[in-house]
Subunit: 541 residues, 2 copies
């Protein structure tokens, strides 16, 4: 990962001519270049970790595991949200920690936390650093100093093959965890877009959902046990399959975003590596038609593992972006036009498992999609999606180099309110940005299905307001967040709360809900050193 973005893709990202044309025509993009500053131009605050705290931390984890160099601090200064990247690229690393601490065991995590709690140093747990909601910015709270606790050395694995459980160290990245599991013929099946960098601890702490969550489940459905080091001691949730022994402490730790403590390992459900993956595209006449088909399919237990439905605008732009102008493409368009699907929506569905399972489930899914008005487009769109499933953040880097703003946000609600929520958020984003003179492209897809509802994932792209990038972003963010709350959506389906969604937490969970969370925080972290400024609004204290 680069210090200012997502990093070098395996294959370079190019915008096809049709995409260039679109950006010019609809966003008034020009050819200006807006590259990041050099690393040596980045402005870092003076490190303020008191000598005594530094000495104690060095004693606890080894001096070589307490880093203070420029690159380490810049790399831990921010996550990978659009405002994070705007600031980093402009040379603003004011969110950097004073030091980066790399504990080598869960005991060392406990010691480091105890030292910080005693010395009054803020602790920011750090996994892959991929937060898009400001979750890893080193806010100091009331403390003079803050350290990032980088968990990369917690990389152990213990597998219970018979129970299909894997206890994984918090610092394992997605690819490394899969590699270790694959050696035993297993997989987690958890593939968020941040997969290449995100970690097990981050998945669990942020209540993450992978792209295949419709089939494999969200991380909260996979996690069976965990350990979390807190200033008040270690919370251990044993990995029993189910229990009626009171409220779920597992579900209290999942999604706690480092404000109660640091998740050091998690026991997750694993599955056999699928023999086969089969992905394909479908077309629907409209977003409401596709959503109804998805609902009926999910409620009939006929869903695939991956199910995504782009709205009309996302479909239009995706088709432009991938247009080659070939004869086959023209024939395909003519076919869809003849079926009344011009200007419609594309869906991607995918099954994973044994040959037999894939065949059987695919037949069922297809029956339901056909019944819901869908037309099958074959495997090419599915394969193309699979190849590009992690490309979004790389593409964003390219667009940021071109004077554009790119932001994503997501929510979920019941089926009965889904279309209302879709219209409300699209409208809010369009109005807020157009009002600033930067009319956006706003696209959306459904990507996680439940019997009672679904998620909506929005992307907006607009010409960047030079010198007021963060104001522009904030105007859009606030408009979208307010619209989500008003339309009955959750303020986040899988990106978590971090710093950026704190202002809506009271609307989300209410006064009594906030009191309950605050009570746990106060008991487990009485001095308040754990990840200040995240998840819980200060005014609830």
């Amino acid at each position: 990962m680069s210090w200012f973005g997502w990093g070098e893709p395996a294959e370079p990202v190019h915008l096809p001519p049709a995409a260039e044309e679109l950006l010019r025509a609809e966003l008034r993009a020009d050819d200006r270049s807006t590259p990041p500053v050099g690393l040596d131009e980045v402005r870092l605050p003076e490190p303020r970790l008191p000598a005594r705290a530094a000495e104690l931390l060095e004693h606890a984890v080894g001096a070589e595991n307490v880093l203070r160099d420029r690159l380490a601090r810049v790399r831990h200064a921010a996550g990978r949200s659009y405002p994070d990247l705007v600031r980093l690229r402009s040379g603003d690393a004011s969110g950097a920690p004073d030091s980066v601490v790399l504990p080598g065991s869960r005991e060392e995590v406990g010691e480091a936390i105890a030292i910080c709690a005693a010395e009054g140093v803020a602790v920011i747990p750090f996994g892959g650093g991929t937060s898009v909601v400001g979750g890893v910015e080193a806010l100091h709270g009331p403390f003079e100093a803050a350290v990032a606790l980088d968990l990369r050395r917690l990389d152990g694995v213990v597998i219970d093959r018979e129970s299909l459980l894997a206890t994984l160290g918090a610092g394992l990245t997605g690819p490394r965890a899969e590699e270790l599991l694959n050696e035993q013929g297993l997989t987690l099946g958890h593939f968020p877009q941040s997969f290449e960098h995100a970690t097990i601890g981050g998945y669990v702490a942020t209540r993450s959902a992978g792209q295949a969550s419709t089939g494999y489940g969200r991380i909260d459905e996979m996690v069976r046990g965990l350990r979390m080091a807190t200033p008040a001691g270690e919370l251990v949730v044993k990995p029993v399959p189910a229990s009626a022994a009171g409220p779920s402490l597992l579900e209290l730790a999942v999604g706690s975003e480092g404000v109660f403590g640091v998740i050091t390992d998690a026991t997750l459900a694993a599955r056999p590596v699928p023999q086969r993956r089969s992905y394909e595209g479908w077309s629907f006449r409209s977003f409401p038609e596709g959503a109804a088909a998805f609902r009926e399919m999910e409620q009939s237990h006929a869903s695939p593992d991956v199910a995504r439905l782009s709205d009309e605008e996302e479909t239009r732009i995706a088709l432009l972006m991938s247009s080659s102008g070939s004869a086959a493409e023209r024939a395909g368009k003519a076919y869809l036009r003849a079926r009344g699907h011009e200007g419609g929506c594309i869906a991607i569905v995918g099954w994973e498992g044994t040959d037999g399972e894939v065949r059987r489930r695919r037949a069922r899914t297809r029956t339901h999609l056909r019944h819901g008005g869908g037309v099958r487009l074959g495997s090419r769109p599915g394969d193309a999606w699979l190849r590009s499933r992690y490309n979004g953040p790389y593409q964003r880097d390219v667009l940021l180099d071109r004077g554009l703003a790119v932001e994503t946000l997501e929510t979920a609600t019941t089926w009965s309110r889904l279309l209302e929520l879709h219209a409300a958020v699209r409208g809010a984003l369009t109005t807020a940005l157009s009002g600033r003179g930067t009319p956006p492209l706003v696209t959306c897809h459904v990507s996680h299905l439940y019997a009672s509802g679904a998620s909506l994932y929005f992307t907006w792209i607009a010409r960047r307001e030079d010198g007021a990038e963060l104001d522009q972003w904030r105007a859009a963010k606030e408009a979208a967040g307010d619209a989500i709350v008003a339309a009955g959506g959750t303020i986040t389906h899988h990106h978590a709360v971090g710093r950026d969604h704190v202002r809506w937490m009271r609307a989300e969970v209410g006064d009594t809900g906030l009191e309950a969370l605050r009570a746990v925080k106060d008991r487990l972290d009485p001095r308040g050193v754990m990840n200040p400024g995240k998840l819980l609004p200060d005014d609830a204290g």
Copy 2:
């Protein structure tokens, strides 16, 4: 429901001659009769609700909804555990509340709680009164008076058909909720053995699992939203399908057993009423063989909706209990003997859904069971199980009349430890009771499957120790509980904690876990009026 037991069954419960013979031969049961005392002989403590509190409560809910009569107090004195029934039948209603309050709305629940918190009166939320862990006994804690808050008047229903969600009042019983849902073509599919009396609020507050939880899911998998009145205000969890907005407050309220507040309604996932139910019996050579077949089936996503596997002892006794001595029965036994299944285990499996779903899923399940060594016994055992699925508590009443003790307890663990746990609990119960001169029959079945493990449900029957019934029960309970903890099981899979499992809560959730729960309790119920003595050990305060 009768005041001293489960009540009159639709058809009278008779013990067949073979069962009589078994009890005589193996438990030294004789023909003595041990009926309950009469209602007028029951000893009730003097009611101590202060006049001011009574007046305020009457003002809040109406004078006609504050009950003090003998029958009302006796009916709210205890749940339906074996020790509860021992005490009630002997005329001991020392667990009775001073009054029974019946609020008519969630606002009235809130008012009643606020009054009790202000006046220092303990509040015991009361649904169907079916707790088997002492969850509804009116323990007073440090307070002079205690009221049972009977929620039967909270009986509303709101259905969102499109999202397959039903918001149900806490006081609706299982049959009434099903009736209301069936009118719309829907069902919850939640059928615990207590179904006939238990309520929606009780299901959620105790983290209940129905007999068909392998297919329909546990109540914690069905619940999407809820409202809980607490002394600190109302907790409202909105029914979004999923959220990453921090720790799950839903999962903090589910299983809270009235110690934080009173759940007033819950939004639950509903399903179409199944067109068809198909149940059948299978035989396995041994419990380990059957458990391995169930594991493989569940991990292959091929499970039915109901999956139960009796161990050898439960199978032996069930066969004796249902023996008719017919030629068909003898032929069946000869067939199983020839297949090497003599002395083996019986399983019940059942599918529900559309005709097509049942056919398709049944074929898959059967393939896996056959592959695991199972022999199909046809639909008769399945139909017999369906007919008698709620009979257990009625049979218990009959056995209690006959000088016997009957107790059930349950746990769950990972597949890799299941057989160890099974042996440990069987051994502990046998040793503890035999040591007291009352060697028991100990039977067990697996009844809820998960990819990572399963539940174990134990029943023991022994000759009752006259005059030391509760000591006998306690010796068995402690031996079983200690064995469960030592063997890595959860202290309860679906009966909840109540009063009877409190002593193992520290072992279950650890010091830090208890601190977290205690913190929420202290914040939401600072005076501690909510259901004192349940769920949380006093020593953690």
